[in-house]
Amino acid sequence: MSEILETPYGTRDFLPEEAAAKRLIENRLAEIFSKYGYEEVVTPAMEFLETLTMSGGRTVEKDLFKMFDQNNRTLALHHEMTTPIARLAASRLKNSALPLKLSYNTNVFRFRRNQPGRQCEFYQAGVELLGISNAAADAEIISLAVESLKSAGLKEFKICLGQVEFASGLMEQNNLSFDEQKKIKSAIERHDIVELEKISDSLNLDKNSADALKKIPQLHGGKEILETAEKLAENKKSLSALENLSEIYRLLEIYGTADKIIFDLGIIRDFEYYTGMIFEAYAPNVGYSLAGGGRYDHMLKDFGLACPATGFALGIERILLARKMQGIYEDVRRKNIYLSYAEGKIDSAIKKASELREAGKVVEISLTPQTKDDAEIFKQKKGYDEMIYIDMDCK
């Protein structure tokens, strides 16, 4: 019997107060996305397994919730929204005018144990900007991420901004073999600076080149970091990555969002996937990122549409947690009036409730007659601001 009262591992309920806070944030995000010209799309919760594993290889497969359809094809619940949107863009929206600006807000599913700040089913909102590969597109995305976090009520947060091509360029500059590059990339992705330093020292590079590789995670700070980085790079790829960041930053200053930016050339989430600028958003006292995004110019090619792309996703539960940590409390459950009445007065009460609702009030009407004392107790219990009690006929 107790089993039917449980929910599966990695799922949760949102009770009214939690659901109201979630809805509030989602509405504000939807509004800011649409102000920037992004239109919402909704895709199925399940896709064919091959669609979701098309890009990024098979690394995601073990995290997917899978099932079979009646023809025994394997289906999976979407684990993020970039892939379904890529499918959409490469198929049904193939002939749309570029750039394509799309947004989403949905639950996604990943089977992993102990993911900090999220369950297996969690909520994401985000945008994708398809068809443009310049700094203006990236600046718009970063600015929108900043505005989104602000509109969600967060005051304290930072965006760490990096560029994948900077580190890639340093590796190519030193003519590292595929295997050597793979080891270095893996150490950076795993945040293992000890390993990065050990590999760099073991590669028979001249001291400057080894030091440059080792310094990647320390290139963190304000705009001056780009100059420090420039001195380390002796190749076109790294230098144009820095120019790209510099141009993005210039535009962010005009947007008025540059004060939230910290440069960090060690931020690299996935070398295979990202191809340009990359960022993560952090808030104090929350141990994991609130949002992340970047440029991924190769992914749509896997779906048969060669098209540059950039975008980001925000974790709704993590934003809710950050709000709590920052003491941001908004009375999201509107409970204006509890309307009760004496025996025989239901007709007047319904009319009164309709008037009040017309005037924009949230009104709960009692469904049985009550004494005034009972109504008062009820109003307290339900947490209404005000009570109206009708015991004589209104005109």
């Binding site: 390993e195 963190h220 910290i262 141990g287």
Partner: protein
């Protein structure tokens, strides 16, 4: 940012003394910071530091969630915990050696000959990764202490465990057949703390590097 304290997680046991001593040399300490402290959080108001002392295996958890900004812990524990944290510095001390051992009368010619046997260990994740990379499937038996008892009482054919001097192995007629990894203590940091408190944490890394070179 409002929270300008840095919380440091230190493990109980043999790494504690060395860690506290090293941090002290870099000026990171607090009054009453010792392993037997009854206080759960030991604070240094002036230097804006907080120390927590936890069970060894819990250090990566505190750090991954950001309950501690940084911590000191063995590489073996980080790998086994599978937590996503920054590994900032190899501190060089706390050296240990993770290996596979069997009863010396029951040695088999090749490693592959142990496929599908039972292995007792405190490190099932590391062991599984090691064997599966060699195409071997094993039956892992998670124990929390006295691993060497496994083969003696017939619970397992082999063990995967840490050795320091090898005395325990010899006393129990066990013999190392293959080395899995060598581990030392690491300075680790929470992914967000490392970014939002970069200046202080990075200064600590630079200072510790200097101290370690001079030693």
């Amino acid at each position: 940012m409002t929270n300008d304290y840095i919380t440091v997680a230190l493990p109980k046991g043999k790494l504690f003394g060395l860690s506290a001593e090293l941090l002290k040399k870099a000026g990171w300490t607090a009054e009453g910071l010792h392993e037997k402290s009854r206080k759960l959080i030991i604070t240094n108001e002036e230097s804006k530091l907080k120390f927590i002392i936890t069970k060894t295996a819990d250090v990566p958890t505190y750090v991954e969630y950001g309950a501690a900004d940084i911590g000191i812990i063995g590489k073996d524990v980080i790998l086994e915990s599978q937590k996503d944290v920054y590994e900032l510095l190899d501190l060089g001390f706390g050296k240990c050696h993770l290996m596979m051992a069997v009863h010396k009368d029951k040695k088999r010619p090749k490693l592959e000959d142990y496929s599908h046997t039972r292995v007792a260990t405190k490190f099932p994740h590391i062991a599984e990764k090691f064997f599966s990379e060699r195409g071997m499937q094993m039956e892992y038996i998670k124990l929390n202490g006295s691993i060497e008892l496994g083969p003696i009482v017939g619970l397992s054919e082999s063990i995967v465990d840490i050795v320091e001097t090898g005395t325990t192995l010899r006393e129990n007629n066990l013999e190392e057949i293959i080395s899995i990894m060598d581990a030392t203590a690491r300075l680790i940091a929470n992914r967000v703390s490392y970014k939002l408190k970069f200046d202080r944490i990075n200064k600590l890394v630079v200072d510790l590097k200097k101290i370690l070179v001079e030693q």
